[in-house]
């Protein structure tokens, strides 16, 4: 620990201190206790045992605090003459997430992308070789298609734009037989999955103003897939149900979740039947895509990053 080293460097030569630890952070008590234990280990040679006399009169107070971004460690070394203060910051640990539950279907989310660029959609391309990692294509809000393999962006492609940027852009990547079709900013472009180059682009009829981005005209495809409406039918997950994957109904300031529902359980006067436990996210679900290959895009309100998740469904009945 760096702070422990700094404390050692600032201690009066040959002196030992009576040591106190305090946790003012929101870290759970058990985590704080574990950290304190490792800190005590690191400071073993500088702290006198609790039963011993503090002959040198040196006191050391180590406090774990936090600001809104990170954990803040402070150490105060008090001698008869002065107080020395040392500070150090460390990132918070990511919180784990899961969706246990006794529901017939189980949802699992696997994060494949996280970054400051807004992701509109992504597709997964399975490699020819079964041992090779899958390839992800991600469409960003500035019309760049990123090609990612094994967590690394290996190439990117700029799509032409025909309408101004929107504050709530939507885009779409769809796998075809040999190509990936990218719909973005009033154009549909075909991108070769072999050469990763645009093979053809054509304009599509759009509504006025930015309305295509905010409320797109319904298409035959969208009736099934419900893109941009934070819900999508799921095909082939289980033999006994054709569920809908849906998000919450808050606005973009809300934390959100996805959950599977049985559409056959919906009646005009009744609630739908949840068929999975929800998975909660640290921000709104901006997009749910796919029929067989499910994915969602989340805006993490804590990190401000955009996150792309693949969603997997297990059939447990």
């Amino acid at each position: 620990m760096k702070l422990a080293d700094e404390i050692g460097a600032k201690m009066p030569p040959g002196a030992q201190a009576s040591c106190e630890f305090a946790n003012l952070s929101s870290l759970p008590a058990e985590d704080a206790a574990r950290i304190e234990q490792s800190f005590r280990e690191a400071l073993r040679s500088w702290c006198i045992p609790q039963s011993a006399q503090n002959a040198a009169g040196v006191e050391l107070s180590v406090t774990l605090s936090e600001n809104w971004k990170e954990l803040v460690w402070t150490a105060q070394i008090r001698t008869s003459g002065a107080t020395i203060v040392l500070l150090e910051t460390s990132p918070r640990t990511a919180k784990s997430q899961g969706a246990p539950g006794a529901m017939p279907l189980t949802l699992r989310a696997e994060k494949i992308w996280e970054g400051p660029r807004r992701i509109l959609d992504f597709v997964t391309l399975q490699p020819q070789s079964p041992v090779a990692p899958p390839e992800f294509w991600l469409l960003t809000d500035d019309g760049v298609v990123l090609r990612q393999v094994g967590g690394t962006i290996i190439s990117q492609l700029q799509l032409p734009r025909s309408v101004p940027l929107s504050r709530d852009p939507v885009g779409d990547l769809t796998k075809d037989v040999r190509d990936v079709k990218a719909s973005f900013s009033g154009k549909v472009c075909a991108i070769s999955s072999e050469s990763f180059s645009v093979t053809e682009c054509h304009a599509v009829v759009i509504g006025s103003r930015n309305s295509t981005d905010a409320v797109g005209p319904p298409t035959a495809d969208s009736i099934v897939r419900q893109r941009g409406n934070q819900s999508a039918f799921v095909e082939g997950a289980c033999p006994f149900v054709r569920p809908v994957l849906g998000s919450g109904r808050g606005d973009y300031t809300e934390k959100d979740f996805v959950q599977l529902f049985d559409p056959d359980g919906f009646r005009a006067d009744a609630a739908g039947i949840p068929v999975s436990a929800p998975i909660f996210f640290a921000g709104p679900v901006l997009d749910i895509s796919g029929v067989e290959d499910l994915g969602i895009v989340v805006h993490n309100l804590e990190s401000e990053n955009y996150e792309a998740y693949r969603i997997f469904i297990s059939c447990s009945r």
């Binding site: 600001n67 910051t89 934070q230």
Partner: protein, 497 residues
């Protein structure tokens, strides 16, 4: 913005969302579209009220009253953009500049401008225009020039923290039109300014060609110079969509069913002591003043729970080390210190405390401070003085000041606080540097922090996507107007106490 009430939609809320899904397939699309309440909608007029008077939007103005400065900057964000912006995490992000770099000494910075940006009058943003605007705002100690695609900023000294400086404050890019009016590249363009008695009415239209995307609302109608009581009434009676709520109004507004949102506590109320004046020359007297003040009562009673006791200049949610500045309310020790100092602050030579006479919260806090100090044996002459930036600040032993936090990051936030408090603001590269810079005026009791106060707004039920920075301010370009939220809806949270 902080949300203390649970705004998380319970899974039960699916009841309404999917209630129609069993209808015929032909109507499936319409059913879900009608219930798709998440995606923003375009259109409508957003009606906003503010209390602070602002005569025009020229960022070259320098109002010295902090509240006026904050109001002007807030309005300027509607019309103008900065080279760099702060995201909600307080991280620097490209604005009109897409990238920036600096030389080895940090004395020369180059900001490459975004391609294709136009001012709202259709003229293109060019490096010379941007450089001219920044030169006027940064002043003669900076050398601002243009090259083919960039703005270059240089100075004799290393410009530590220049990007953060340009991302906050008044460093907006503007172009002066032929008639002298200023145009910007921001989400709105103003179309009307008219005085209506004590208030001023401004109208803004959506900038259809804004590089960052057209704002959701078509028009913004802004009334400024409206007092807090009137604003609370306006939101309650459906005459406004967004109003400012002073601390004393927040709880009452929530009780009236108004949706309220608040920033984290960010605005500092503090006493600034003039150590050159005989009354507070003795550090023991200054320490006694600090010990005599009951900050908890100020936060909970005077400011109706909208304030948090301040022990440092920075709120703990920014610094994380506020526990290193212990303060206590200890009247006996205050009396002992005064007795030991031998100072007599009596009726014949009272301690002169001044505050902004137009600020009702400041007057209430000053009155409470006076009562506390009197209990310690210090006679106080509290005096309200106009603080409008035009008159010279009056001579006083103690000034009650309000200073806003301009950034959520410790070094620039403290820099922005120390300067108006008259304290040196050295280069602060590490958190240790920030702590040392903050500790100096606190240990000498030249500045005595009292409370940090949240910035609060009342929102109409139609206002959606209110995503404001936790350190205050607004982002009206991303706000849209939806149908009124149903009672008890979890889609729109409130953090009203």
């Amino acid at each position: 913005m902080r949300r203390t009430a649970s705004s998380f939609p319970a899974p039960d809320s699916w009841r309404g969302r999917f209630a129609f899904l069993a209808l015929a397939a032909a109507s499936l699309w319409l059913c879900i579209r009608a219930d798709a309440s998440v995606r923003p909608r375009f259109g409508g007029t957003l009606r906003v009220q503010m209390s602070e008077r602002v005569e025009n939007l020229d960022p070259r103005q320098r109002p010295s009253a902090p509240a006026q400065t904050a109001a002007l900057e807030r309005l300027d964000t509607l019309v103008f953009d900065r080279l760099i912006r702060l995201d909600a995490r307080g991280t620097l992000q490209p604005g009109l500049a897409v990238s920036w770099q600096y030389d080895a000494q940090g004395k020369r910075w180059l900001f490459r401008l975004r391609d294709g940006v136009k001012f709202s009058d259709g003229t293109p943003l060019t490096p010379p225009v941007a450089a001219m605007a920044l030169q006027q705002l940064l002043g003669v100690s900076f050398d601002v020039s243009a090259n083919s695609d960039s703005v270059v900023i240089g100075a004799d000294q290393p410009l530590v923290g220049l990007p953060m400086q340009l991302a906050t404050g008044r460093y907006f890019i503007f172009r002066a039109g032929d008639d002298g009016s200023l145009v910007g590249t921001g989400p709105f363009r103003y179309t009307l300014i008219e005085s209506m008695g004590a208030a001023t009415h401004m109208e803004f239209d959506a900038n259809e060609t804004c590089w960052a995307g057209r704002p959701y609302v078509d028009k913004l109608a802004l009334s400024i110079g409206i007092n807090g009581d009137q604003q609370a009434d306006a939101i309650a009676f459906g005459q406004a969509d967004i109003v400012e709520l002073p601390p004393s109004q927040v709880r009452r507004a929530a009780q009236r069913g108004i949706r309220t949102v608040s920033s984290d506590p960010e605005e500092l109320f503090a006493l600034v002591l003039d150590a050159a004046r005989p009354a507070v020359q003795d550090p023991h007297v200054r320490q006694a003043i600090s010990l005599a003040i009951d900050r908890t009562s100020i936060a909970n009673v005077i400011l109706q729970g909208q304030g948090a006791v301040a022990v440092g200049l920075l709120p703990n949610w920014i610094s994380g080390y506020a526990h290193l500045f212990p303060v206590s309310f200890d009247l006996p020790q205050a009396k002992d210190l005064l007795s030991a100092s031998g100072r007599q602050l009596s009726r014949s030579s009272p301690l002169v405390l001044v505050y902004d006479s137009s600020d009702t919260e400041a007057r209430a806090v000053a009155d409470r401070v006076s009562v506390n100090l009197r209990e310690a044996g210090i006679v106080v002459q509290a005096s309200g003085q106009p603080v409008d930036g035009k008159a010279k600040p009056p001579a006083a032993d103690v000034r009650l000041v309000r200073e806003r936090t301009h950034a959520p990051v410790a070094a620039p936030a403290l820099f922005g606080l120390l300067q108006p408090l008259g304290e040196p603001a050295a280069n602060m590269k590490t958190l240790d540097d920030v702590y040392d810079a903050e500790r100096a005026p606190l240990e000498a009791y030249r500045v005595i922090p009292l409370v940090h106060v949240s910035e609060s707004y009342g929102l109409s039920p139609q206002v959606r996507d209110w995503i404001a920075p936790r350190w205050g301010g607004w982002d009206l370009a991303d706000v849209w107007l939806g149908p009124p939220a149903s009672a008890g809806s979890s889609a729109l949270g409130s953090n009203a106490p």
